[in-house]
Symmetry: D2
Subunit: 328 residues, 4 copies
C-alpha cells in the first residue's frame, strides 16, 4: 500500500446516473476501512475550483445506496477547461491535503482528469458513470442497467394502451452516439423494430418490416429509436413518413427523455458501484494512477484512462440478429 | 330483480385506462353470480356494429385484474355516429340475445350510449373509465389514481437528475380540459408550480414564482403543466420564455405522454372497478337504465347518464391553495 | 388567526407509515407560510422528554415528500406514561418557546396528546398516521393507500408463481384488530377468500369455499388473512388444517410483515398528507385544540380527539359482498 | 443446419422464475424464423407423460415477455422418475412428431433431460431457469437478476421503518445451498451483515459485528440471511440469541418467501432469455444435443449438460470482502 495517499477526494461529473451515490458511498467507506481520509467535492470540477469540499466519514453516506442522482451534485465547468481554472482547482486540493482523486463520470470527465494528471502529476482514477454504456473498458457503466429497466417498464405501460387500440408507437430513448439502450431495451420490451446510430436500416426496410409485422397478425407495434439513429429523422418525422405511406396505421410518438437518468438503482448497479468504488480507492492506495476501473467478462479490471477515453464501444451485433428473430 | 335481463353485453370505449380490465372482470363475474349470461363486445361500438362478440364466464377473466389496458380492446367508431351504424349494432345485440349493455368509458362513450338507448329503448349503464377524472357524477374515475402514481413516480426520477444539476424542469401531463392530474400529481411530486386549464396564472406570476423559489434557496424546480393549461403556451414555448427572462436557469422539458394511460392498476382502482362493476350489473337487474355508477363521498352512487354527460367537474380550489403553501 | 401561537412543534409517534414525511413537510412549510416558527421533535414523546428538538424551515424538508418512514424518527416512550415524564416534556416545550403541538400517529399517540393537553392546557392537533386505517374520524389514514399498493404488488408476484404451479397460498397481512388492509388488498389482488378480525368465517366455510373454487376450474388460489382474523388460527395452522382436509392442495404460507409499513408514499397519501398538514397548523392558528384532522366524504374535517380515540371504525360490509361476488 | 429437426418441444420444469416466458417466446419464434414447428408442453415432464401439448406459433407468445411465472406451467413429476413414465413421455413426443426438446429449468430438470436423452437418444438442450443462480455453466440464470431487484426493493422498504425506529432486522432470502441472492442483494440493500451457506461466520462474529455497527453510530441494521446459512439457526432463533446477548436491540424478523420467484422480469433477464432461447433452438438445428446454453464472460456459451448438472457454482469471494468494506 502506498505511503503517499492519506486523503482522497471524490467527485461526480457530467450527466448523473443511478448508482453514482452507491459509488460515492463505497469510495468513502473504503477510505475509512483503510484508515485514510476522504473529502467529497461538490458540483464536479467546478466545485474543485471553488473549493466546495466536505469531509466525509462512513456515517456521511448512510442511506444513499438506494438513491438516484448524486448527493455530491454534478455540473459542467467551462472554467476547468482553462489552465487558470485547473490551477485554482489544484491549489484547493493541496490546501485541503487531498492527494488523490476518484472521478465518477463519463468520457468528458475522464478527459479532464487526464489533463489534470498530466499538468500536476496528480493521481486520478475514473469510475464509469453514465446510462449510455458507451465507455471503452467496461461491459457495464453505472446506471445503464437501471436505465434499461426504466425504459422497459415505461414501454410495458405504453404497450398496454398500444395493444388496446391497435396502434403503432415510436418511442425515442437516450443514446446520441450509442445504441446500447435502444437495442437492449428494445429487445426487452419486445419491440418490433429498433433504430440505432450504428446501423442504417433505411426507410424502406422500416416500412417493409412494419408491413410484415401487420401481415403476421400483430395488432400493435412498438418501434424503439435511439436519439442519434442513422436514418437521421426525428421520431416525429418518421411518424409523418409512415402515416403517409401506411395510412392504415395510427402512429403515436413518445420521447422518454430525462426520466431515464433517474430512479433508484437496480441491484446490479448497486453491487457494481460498490465493487468499483472499492477497487478505485485500493488502486490509488497501491500507488497507481490514470486507470479506469470497470467490469469486463465478469471481472473487475483496470483500463488505462487514456485508452478508455479514446476507445470506442460497439453494440453486440449478435443482439441485432436476436432482435430480428424474436420480433418475428 | 328484473325478469327481463338475461344477458348483458360489456364493452370498453374511448381512451383506455388502468382498471378497465378489473371492471370487465367484475361485470362478467357479477353476471355469473346472478346466473345470467354475459358477452364481451370487442373494440367498443365498432365491434358491436361488426358483431364481434364473445361469450364470457368467470374463468374468461382470470388473471386480468392486475393488467393495464383492456382485453376487450377499444376503438373510436365513426360508423356508430350514423343511424345506420347504430341499427346494425342493435340488430347484432338482438341476434345475440343481449338485452342490456354496460359501457366502460368516458363522456363520448356515454353520449353514444344515451343515443342508443333513446333510439332502441335499450338498457344501458355507464362505468366512468378515464385517467382524466373529468366526469361528472364520481369523485374518482377508473384509472385516475393509477395515473397519478405513474406521474409521481416519473417526476420522482426526474427530480433525482434535476436536483443533481440544479435545473428547472417543465413537465407536461395529460389533461386537455381538466387539471386534476396536474394539480394532484403536482402536489404529490412536490412541484414548485402547477399550470392548469382552470386557472390563468399568467406568465408574470410564473416568473415571479420561479424567482421566489430561487431566492428561497431551492436548488432545483419542477413545474407541472396540464396539456391544456390556460397560459396557452406549450411547454417548449414556456421554456424559451423563461430562459429569455431568467437566463440563470437551465430549463428542460419532458412530455410524459401515453405512458400515463398504462400500467398495472393501483389497489384503489382495482377495488373501485370491482365495486362499480357489481353495481352496474345489479342496477340493470333492478330494471334501471341510463345511469352512471360512481363513487361520491365514499359511497357508490347512481347519476343519470344525461347529467353525467352534461355536468362539469371542477378542480378543488382548496388544492390550489395547498399547493401554494407546501411549495413555499 | 390566534395571536398566541408563535411556534409549533411537530412529532411522529408509534408505528411509522408512508406519508409521515409528507405531513411533516406540510406542517413545517405551513408554519413558514404563516410566518411562525416550527420545531421538529425527534423520536416522538421520548424526544420531547429529552429535549431532542430541531428548528425547521422550508428548506429543512426538501426532498422528503417521496420518502417512506419518518425523518423525525419514532419511538415508544414508557416515561411519557408517567406524570414526571410529561412534566419534563412540558418544561422542554416551554424552554423552547413551543406553544402548540402537531402529533402524527395513531390511537396511542393521540391518547398521550389528550392527557398532555389536559394536564398542561397545551394546544394539540392530531394527524392520523398508520397503515391500518383503524382510526375513527377519517376515511383514510396516512400510509393506508400505500400499504394497499404494496400488498397488492407483492401478491401479484406470488400469483405468478402460484398459477405456474397450481398452488394455494395463505398470505398474512397486517391488521391485528382491523380488516381494512386484508379486505381491500384482498379484493385488489383477486383473492379467493379473505379472513378478517371483524367476521368469523369458520373453518367449514373456508373449506367449502376452497372446494367451490377448485370445482369452478380455478387453477390456483390466494387466501388473504389479517393478522388478527377471527378464526383464531395462524396462517401456518390453517395450512395444516387445509392440507389435512384437502390433500389435493399444495399449500404455501407467506407472512408479508414489516415491508408493508415502508416504501415511497402513493400520490394519494402525499396529497392527503399535504392537506392534513396544512389544516393541522391552520387549526392551531385559529386557536383551536384537541382535534384530529381527517378526510371524510371527500372533505377535510375536524373530529374531537377524544372521539377519535374512543370511536371504532368498521369495515365496509358492502366490500365483503363485493369480494364474494368477484371471486366467483 | 440439421435436416433432422422439424419440430421442437419446449417445457418449463421445477420452480418457476421470471424470464421463463421470455425464453419460451424466444424458442417459439426462433422455430418460426427457421421454418420449423414448435409445440409447448404443459406442466413439465408430467404434461409430456400425459400428452398435454399445444402447437405454438409466433402469435401464441404475444405479450408474454413481460410476465412472471410460466404460461406453460410447471410441475414436479414423480412418474417421470420411473422408466414407464419416461416411455409414455417418449411415445407422446413421437406421436406428435416432436424430435427435439428444450428444457427450461434447474438441476433436477436437467438430470431428467439427460436420462431421457440416454434412454431414447432424444436431442435435448437446457436453458438455466432458476432464481438461485446455482447452476454451473452460466454466470447468470434466468430470473436471478429479477429476484435480486425484488429483494432489494423489499429491503429498501423495510429499511424505511427500521431506520425510523432504530431497529435490527433479520431478513431471510432464498438460497438453500447457495448464497448468491443473499450476498448480492445484501450488498445492494446495504446490509450490515450477510449470512450464507458457503461461509460459517459463527455466532460470536455476528455479535461482534453488530456491536461494532452500533458503536460506529449506525441507528439501524439489516442482516440478510440465506435460507441455508451455515450458522444453522433459523432467523427466529438468531433473533432470540441476539436479543439475549444484546438486550439493547429490538430485533424483528422478515421471511421474504415466494414473492422472490415472481414479478415482471428485469430487462437483463428478458434479453438473456431471448439470447438463450435463440441459441437453444439453433444448437438443436446444428445437430447438437446435451448442452446447456449459458452466459459466461459476456458471451453466450454451450456447456455439456452433464457438466452443468455435476458442476458446483461458487460465490465470488471478492464480494464477501466488498461487503465487509462497504458495510463499515
Amino acid at each position: 500500500m502506498s505511503l503517499n495517499v492519506k486523503k482522497i477526494g471524490v467527485l461526480t461529473s457530467g450527466g448523473d446516473s443511478p448508482g453514482m451515490n452507491a459509488a460515492i458511498r463505497a469510495v468513502v467507506r473504503t477510505c475509512a476501512f483503510h484508515n485514510i481520509e476522504c473529502a467529497g467535492v461538490y458540483r464536479g470540477y467546478q466545485g474543485m475550483i471553488e473549493g466546495d469540499f466536505k469531509e466525509m466519514g462512513p456515517r456521511s453516506v448512510n442511506n444513499i445506496i438506494n438513491k438516484g442522482g448524486t448527493v455530491l451534485k454534478s455540473a459542467r465547468s467551462k472554467e476547468f477547461m482553462t489552465e487558470e481554472g485547473r490551477k485554482k482547482a489544484h491549489a484547493n486540493l493541496v490546501k485541503n491535503n487531498i492527494d488523490a482523486l476518484v472521478v465518477i463520470g463519463g468520457n468528458g470527465s475522464f478527459t479532464g482528469a487526464l489533463l489534470f494528471n498530466k499538468e500536476f502529476n496528480f493521481p486520478v482514477i475514473g469510475i464509469p458513470g453514465t446510462i449510455d454504456n458507451d465507455i471503452f473498458g467496461t461491459s457495464f457503466t453505472l446506471g445503464y442497467d437501471t436505465a434499461l429497466n426504466t425504459v422497459v417498464e415505461v414501454i410495458d405501460k405504453i404497450r398496454d394502451t398500444a395493444s388496446s387500440h391497435n396502434r403503432l408507437f415510436f418511442i425515442e430513448v437516450m443514446g446520441r452516439d450509442a445504441g446500447h439502450i435502444a437495442l437492449n431495451a428494445g429487445i426487452g420490451a419486445g419491440a418490433e423494430e429498433i433504430l440505432i446510430p450504428e446501423e442504417d436500416m433505411g426507410l424502406d426496410r422500416l416500412l417493409d418490416s412494419l408491413r410484415k409485422s401487420k401481415a403476421s397478425g400483430k395488432s400493435s407495434s412498438i418501434v424503439v429509436i435511439a436519439e442519434g439513429d442513422k436514418i437521421g429523422k426525428s421520431a416525429f418525422e418518421l411518424k409523418d413518413y409512415v402515416e403517409e405511406n401506411m395510412p392504415e396505421y395510427d402512429v403515436r410518438v413518445s420521447i422518454l427523455g430525462h426520466m431515464q437518468r433517474g430512479g433508484s438503482p437496480s441491484c446490479f448497479d448497486r453491487v457494481l458501484a460498490s465493487r468499483l468504488g472499492v477497487k478505485a480507492v485500493e488502486t490509488l492506495l497501491e500507488g497507481k494512477s490514470n486507470y479506469m476501473v470497470g467490469l469486463i467478462k465478469d471481472e473487475i479490471t483496470l483500463t488505462p484512462l487514456e485508452q478508455a477515453v479514446k476507445g470506442k464501444t460497439q453494440v453486440d451485433k449478435e443482439l441485432i440478429r436476436v432482435s430480428d428473430i424474436v420480433s418475428i
